[in-house]
C-alpha cells in the first residue's frame, strides 16, 4: 500500500487524498438523502470494480454478474434468518458459493473454447437459470421474496450489519476503497500483467508460456467472490430479496454501466462512472418531478439517451479523458 502511494505523482496524491477525505467526512454535513445516494454510488463503484477486474483487465465479458450479487445476498441472508449466523461469518460462505459458481462457469467456458459474445451469453444463461430456480425454491421464499426481519434489540450490532444509514455508508466506503486498492495492487502484480497479456492477445500470451486458462480462472474467481460481498451488503441494506429483482438481467447491465462509462481497465474508471451515472439517474427523477411529468419511464428514456451519447463521445470512457484534463493521467497497462 505504501508502494502504491509512493508510486503516485504529487497531483495524484492530492486528488486521491481530497476525494477520500471528503468521502470520510461527508456524513457530517450531508442529509439523509445525500447519504443514501452516496451509499448507492459507492456500492456501484464496488461491484463495478469487481466486474472491471474480469472484463477490463482479463478481457472476459460477463453479462451475468447479477448471479453473484444474488447468490451472495441469498446465502448470507438465509444463514442469518434460518441459522442466526451473522454476515461477518456468512460473507465467507457467500464468497465461497459465488466463487464456486464463477469457477464452474469459467471452467465450462474456457475449457470448451466459448469466447467473446458466446461467453457473455453463457453467463446470461446461468444468471437467468438461477433466477427462475430461485423463483421456485421454497426454502428461500420463492418468488414471494426473502425478508430479513427488523429486530430493534439488535440495532447496535454493527458486526452483524444491523444499524442505521451511517453504518452502511461507511461499510460501502470501506468496500469501494478496498476494491480500488486491491485492483491497483493486482494490476501491478505478475498476475495483473498476465491478465493484460491474455486480454490483448491470448495466443501470443500462451506462446510466452503464460497459463492463460489459469489466469482467466483466477480473474473469474476473484471477480465473482468480490461481487458476492456486494450482494451481502445489498441483502442487509435493503432487508428484502426477490429473485425477479436481484438476478434480473437489468441488474447485470446496471453493474457494468459504471465501469464502461468511467473507463474499462482503469483503476478509477468504475468509481468515476458510478459518480456520473447514479447522480444522473437521481437528478433525472428530481427533474421530471419538478417539471410535473409523472409518467413512468420518462427518466429511463433520458437515461438511455445520455448513455448512448456518452459512449458515442467517449469510447474509452470518461476517466482517461478527465484524468488528462486534471493532469493525473499515466498510461498503465
Amino acid at each position: 500500500m505504501t508502494r502504491l502511494w509512493l508510486g503516485m505523482s504529487e497531483r495524484q496524491r492530492a486528488l486521491v487524498g481530497i476525494v477520500f477525505v471528503l468521502l470520510v467526512f461527508a456524513p457530517l454535513v450531508a442529509d439523509r438523502y445525500l447519504i443514501s445516494v452516496l451509499t448507492l454510488i459507492l456500492y456501484f463503484a464496488y461491484v463495478g470494480q469487481a466486474w472491471n477486474l474480469m472484463m477490463g483487465y482479463a478481457g472476459q465479458l460477463s453479462l451475468g454478474h447479477a448471479l453473484y450479487v444474488g447468490l451472495g445476498a441469498y446465502v448470507a441472508a438465509l444463514l442469518w434468518v434460518d441459522f442466526g449466523v451473522g454476515p461477518w461469518l456468512g460473507v465467507f460462505v457467500a464468497v465461497l458459493v459465488a466463487a464456486s459458481f464463477g469457477a464452474f462457469i469459467g471452467w465450462l467456458g474456457f475449457r470448451f473454447g466459448v469466447e467473446g459474445v458466446y461467453f457473455a451469453l453463457l453467463t446470461i444463461a446461468f444468471a437467468e437459470f438461477t433466477r427462475i430456480a430461485f423463483d421456485h425454491l421454497g426454502f428461500a421464499g420463492g418468488s414471494g421474496g426473502l425478508f430479513i426481519p427488523y429486530q430493534e434489540q439488535r440495532l447496535g450490532e454493527w458486526w452483524n450489519l444491523r444499524g442505521g444509514q451511517i453504518l452502511f455508508y461507511y461499510v460501502a466506503l470501506l468496500l469501494a476503497v478496498s476494491a480500488v486498492l486491491l485492483v491497483a495492487r493486482l494490476t501491478r502484480s505478475r498476475l495483473g500483467y498476465y491478465w493484460v497479456a491474455v486480454r490483448e492477445d491470448e495466443a501470443a500470451a500462451r506462446a510466452l508460456g503464460i497459463n492463460a486458462f489459469r489466469a482467466k480462472m483466477t480473474a473469474v474467481i476473484i471477480s465473482s467472490g468480490m461481487t458476492a460481498v456486494g450482494g451481502v451488503f445489498y441483502a442487509f441494506y435493503y432487508n428484502n430479496l426477490f429473485p425477479a429483482q436481484i438476478f434480473d438481467i437489468s441488474r447485470s447491465i446496471e453493474i457494468i454501466l459504471a465501469p464502461i462509462v468511467g473507463g474499462l481497465g482503469t483503476v478509477f474508471g468504475p468509481v468515476v462512472g458510478a459518480f456520473i451515472l447514479t447522480p444522473l439517474g437521481e437528478s433525472l427523477i428530481t427533474l421530471t418531478e419538478k417539471l410535473g411529468i409523472n409518467v413512468p419511464g420518462v427518466k429511463a428514456v433520458f437515461y438511455g439517451a445520455i448513455l448512448m451519447l456518452i459512449i458515442f463521445l467517449r469510447p474509452s470512457g470518461v476517466w482517461p479523458w478527465l484524468a488528462r484534463i486534471l493532469g493525473v493521467w499515466e498510461r498503465r497497462p
Binding site: M55, L63, G297, V301, G304
Partner: protein
C-alpha cells in the same frame, strides 16, 4: 388417450416455435453479416406487436395483413438506424456496441411504457378461439396462420439471399469482408440493408406474435433473451438453424409448461442453451469457424 395430449402440445410448440424462429432469424442475419449483436431485438418485436395492436384496434386491420406494412416500415427504420448510428460503431469493441443497443432498448421499452402503460393489451381477434380438428389434433387457427406466414417470409428471405444480386453481395460481405470491399461493394450500404432486413423479420414476427400473446412492454427483454437462446441453439449465422432452433425451443417450452409448470418453461431453454454452448458451440446447424 395420453399420447394425443402430448401430440397436441408438441404441435402447438412447433407452430409457436416457427414464429419465434422468424424473430430469431432477424437476429441471426444481423449478427451473421454485420457482426453486431442486436441487444434490442426483443424490444423491436414488442414495438411491432404494439403497431399491429394499434392497427387492429383503430383500422380493424388483421395482424396477418398489417405485418406487411409493419415489416416495410421496420426495414426503413433498420436501414436508418444502421446508417446513422450503428455504422459508427463497427469495429469498436463488443461492449461499446452492447451499451449502444442497451441504450436503444431502454428507450424503446420506456417509450412504450409511457404510451401504453404497463398492462398487457389483448388483441381479441374474432377467430382467436377457433381451431381445426384433424383426427385427435385440435390446432388453433391463429397458430396455423402465423406459422404458415412465418414460413413464407423465411422462404422469401432464403430466396433473396440465394438468387438476387443484393442478396449474394450481402453474403459476400459476411464471407469475406476485405474481399467484398476490394471488388467494390458498398459494405456500409449493404450492412444497412441487412439490418433493415433483420428488423423486417422482427417486425413481421412481432405482428404475428400479437395473435398468440398479449402485448406488454416488459416482454422486450424476455424476447431478446429468447431470440439469443434460439439463435445460439440453432447456430449463429445459420438461417435454417434459426428456424430449427425456434421450433426446438417452442416445443421445449410447450412441453415444460405442460409437464412441469408454465413459469419454469424458460429454465429449460436456458439449460438447453448452456448444454449447446458447451457441447456444440457452433450450434446445431452451424459450421465450425
Amino acid at each position: 388417450m395420453m399420447w394425443s395430449i402430448y401430440l397436441n402440445v408438441v404441435v402447438q410448440g412447433v407452430l409457436t416455435g416457427l414464429v419465434y424462429g422468424l424473430m430469431a432469424l432477424g437476429l441471426s442475419v444481423i449478427f451473421g453479416v454485420v457482426r453486431v449483436v442486436n441487444f434490442a431485438h426483443g424490444e423491436f418485436a414488442v414495438v411491432a406487436m404494439y403497431a399491429a395492436f394499434v392497427l387492429f384496434k383503430t383500422a380493424g386491420l388483421d395482424p396477418l395483413l398489417s405485418l406487411l406494412p409493419i415489416a416495410a416500415i421496420f426495414f426503413i427504420g433498420g436501414f436508418l438506424l444502421q446508417t446513422v448510428l450503428i455504422n459508427a460503431f463497427i469495429g469498436r469493441p463488443e461492449h461499446d456496441q452492447f451499451i449502444l443497443l442497451v441504450g436503444v432498448a431502454i428507450i424503446i421499452v420506456n417509450v412504450l411504457l409511457m404510451t401504453f402503460g404497463p398492462d398487457a393489451q389483448p388483441t381479441n381477434l374474432s377467430y382467436a378461439f377457433d381451431s381445426y380438428s384433424i383426427g385427435p389434433l385440435f390446432v388453433d387457427k391463429v397458430r396455423i396462420y402465423s406459422a404458415v406466414a412465418a414460413l413464407a417470409i423465411a422462404s422469401g428471405l432464403f430466396a433473396f439471399f440465394r438468387y438476387t444480386r443484393v442478396g449474394i453481395a450481402i453474403r459476400a460481405c459476411a464471407d469475406n469482408l476485405v474481399g467484398a470491399a476490394v471488388v467494390g461493394l458498398n459494405v456500409k450500404r449493404l450492412y444497412a440493408v441487412t439490418f433493415g432486413l433483420g428488423l423486417a423479420c422482427v417486425g413481421a414476427a412481432g405482428a404475428l406474435m400479437v395473435t398468440i400473446a398479449d402485448a406488454t412492454p416488459s416482454l422486450g427483454p424476455a424476447y431478446t433473451l429468447l431470440a439469443f437462446v434460439i439463435v445460439i441453439v440453432g447456430g449463429l449465422g445459420s438461417m435454417t438453424g434459426a428456424l430449427v432452433g425456434g421450433v426446438l425451443i417452442g416445443v421445449s417450452e410447450a412441453l415444460a409448461g405442460f409437464l412441469i409448470e408454465p413459469s419454469m418453461k424458460s429454465m429449460f431453454s436456458f439449460a438447453l442453451l448452456i448444454a449447446v454452448l458447451v457441447l456444440r458451440p457452433q450450434g446445431l446447424m452451424g459450421r465450425r469457424a
